[in-house]
């Protein structure tokens, strides 16, 4: 490979990389996540999450997309140090790559009414 070919090769690799990053940015809305993510859509409404049981694999890149229908519910997984407010009228996104197997409870941690205390679920991370 001569110098000229080498330069051209380098430029095309760079272009491809930049293009890949741009694609990632458009798809995932974040420049941090370059690996492929599995998308899980979750609906929050008084007084449940649907689904309320999420099965993940250790090391798997997951993007949680929340839609809240009626209240600024909260999503909190204390054991994974992961939480967000879920305002209605927009999609709230959380990225998660579990680094340990196990079952981790999540709750709505914004008091939302008479059934608030039952609003929760679990994330089950397998090896």
């Amino acid at each position: 490979m001569n110098a000229r070919h080498g330069t051209a090769w380098l430029i095309s690799v760079l272009c491809l990389t930049v293009a890949a990053f741009i694609t990632m940015n458009v798809a995932y809305g974040s420049s941090k996540n370059t690996a492929k993510e599995r998308v899980i859509k979750i609906v929050a409404q008084r007084f449940s999450f649907t689904p309320n049981e999420l099965k993940l694999k250790k090391g798997e890149n997951v993007r949680l997309e929340f839609t809240s229908l009626d209240f600024v519910h909260g999503f909190n997984v204390p054991d994974l140090n992961l939480r967000a407010d879920l305002p209605p009228g927009k999609i709230t996104t959380l990225h998660l790559t579990p680094d340990k197997a196990g079952t981790f409870d999540f709750i709505c941690d914004n008091f939302c009414g008479a059934g608030h205390e039952d609003m929760g679920g679990k994330i089950i991370v397998g090896n």
Partner: protein, 299 residues
Amino acid sequence: MINRRDFMKLTAIGGGAVFISGLTSLSQAATGYGKGAAYDDFYFVQLSDTHWGYQGPANPEEANTLKKAVATVNGLESQPDFIVFTGDLTHTTDDPKERRKRLNEFRDIVSELKVENVRFIPGEHDASLDNGAVYKEIFGNTFYSFDHKGVHFVMLDNVSDPGANIGEAQLAWLAADLAKQKKDAKIVVFTHRPLFDLAPKWDWATRDGAKAIDMLMPYTNVTVFYGHIHQEHHHQTGHIAHHSAKSLIFPLPAPGSQEKRTPLPWDDSMPNKGLGFREVEAEIKTAEYKIIEFPVSRG
């Protein structure tokens, strides 16, 4: 009129468990108590989590438990200096009219208490759905402080925000309130939720509670009494002791002991089991607090 020492003997028989909070050991405190009856100590009563308006299998006696507790407090041989309710006065409802009705009914029931100095703070069931609006109309401010016989009492609101934040405005107020106190002042905090992370997966925490604890840390004599978890629990964050009170509607399981924080089942053979209120004896000289737990009814 019986004297305090006789009174303590009586309540020990009728009341059950005694928990002494403070820097000295139990035996030292007990000795100190016998000798110390001369100084200006006093006691107050804490009731919590009465959940007026609850209907469900965890308490089929829901219409009577609070009224019985009021009668029991009125029957105490020696009346407390004041009485405090640490939140969840009512059970939540999504209907604002019903919320107002429950809060008014609660106020009417506890107006039967003989002691006139009665203090309140809200719980999330009373205040979270309307940021404390109706509560404030009926009971006044959700956070405030007052002094009694040399003790500075601070009432903190960690429930008017549905996200369990004390919030920057109230924290600024707390900083200003504490700034007026000497570092060795005797400070007692009443609040509804635990200020520390007791069981976050059961929502037994205050999101910015660590900020309040940090502000209290420089003070050497601080004790916190709270509710929310429907059982007695004692915890230290550094030198600060935190004591939760029983409920007057249904008990809840020990923190994190089972998957769901569902109420413990009602026991027909022992009505009101696990429920009750407490007396707190303030030993001014040593800034110790002797806690005596009472059942809903005595005798």
